[in-house]
Amino acid sequence: MELSCQLKPDTSFRATGNKNGKHIEIVFRVWGRASNDMGNATVHNMRGSRSDPSWNPPVPVQATSDLMSSLLSVLLRIFKTVVLSYAVVATVYTLLVPLVGYLPLNSSLRVGVDFLLSPSRRISELGSGAFYSNVGPGKLRWAEEPVCWRPSPNFFFKTSPRMPLSMTEELFLNKAFSQSLQPTNIVPFYYRSSKSSEKQPSYEDISIATLVTSSRFMVLAKLARKYQGTRFSFSQPMPP
């Protein structure tokens, strides 16, 4: 933009206009001593003034630097938001850890999300309300299968939380049997009965728990044949 006009010294005028949808306002001040001097424009903008008489207003450059600064402020705002949300998440996490004792991490988080998406996918029951939640066959190492369980009601949660917590089988068993002599390897459901796996977890029934040495295996088979869960019949009627 070029400007050529004659004005009295030490006076100023204002020019406004729109360029590329941006509102631009330039204040011109005449710089001179004699009344015949051709006025050199000095540009003022919002950020200050330049007093160099030979300086011409670089309007397009000014617009670019405006763009740069607005971009910078947007980036700053994004950065602020990120920092703020990190602080919020960190605070909530720190508050929740003593409340629930354990929060899902790494692959366990995936399991938790997986469970939320499809609550009916309870793969195999573990007893005591816990269950395995398979994320896919062949992907996991030994004892890394995720186990989901509901914590007991505690001081903060009068009822058991709806969403089960999940962790690896190894950690779960270590916690459950932490009072036992270590190291020990527990393999839950080394064999799983075909009949009782059809039933719901923790259904109201009575199991027999027993200890057996390898020399008494045949006695165990006999006991299993005798008791047989629901199909236990007698020749004599039972007293009511």
Partner: protein
């Protein structure tokens, strides 16, 4: 059911596991009704821990602790489940039932579990057995 198998020596461990596999696969009652949990370590006589493993993984609400050599002669399971008085106590969570056990006065009488008496009257009147928990000496 929890089975403890000593980790060492390895040959013995593998032999017991093979034995267990044979038992489980050849006995239909086992594969139909019995869950097996393994405890593999080097510690003997951790009875409470083994019981806790069996109890912890039991998939039913209630668990009976039973010596494997006991013969279940009566249908105590249905007796408990169908009695509102008993099952309510159990549901309440602070009651445990003690099931009386009997043993034969003469060990030779107890060879065949299929002909065991099913009522206390029949057993005690005919001097077949005594209350194991009392250890009454009738002779």
């Amino acid at each position: 059911m929890a089975i403890h198998i000593s980790n060492t020596p390895k040959e013995q461990r593998d032999a017991v596991l093979r034995q267990l596999h044979n038992l489980y696969t050849t006995s239909p009652a086992m594969s139909t009704w019995v869950d097996v949990h393994l405890v593999l370590d080097d510690f003997d006589r951790q009875f409470n821990m083994w019981r806790n493993v069996a109890r912890f993984f039991a998939r039913t609400e209630f668990v009976t602790m039973l010596d494997v050599d006991f013969a279940v002669c009566t249908d105590f399971r249905n007796r408990v489940l169908r009695s509102p008085a008993i099952i309510d106590k159990l549901r309440h969570g602070d009651a445990a039932l003690v099931i009386p056990a009997f043993e034969f006065v003469d060990q030779q009488d107890g060879q065949d579990a299929d002909i065991f008496p099913m009522t206390k009257e029949v057993g005690i009147d005919s001097s077949y057995f005594d209350l194991l928990t009392i250890g009454l000496n009738r002779s």
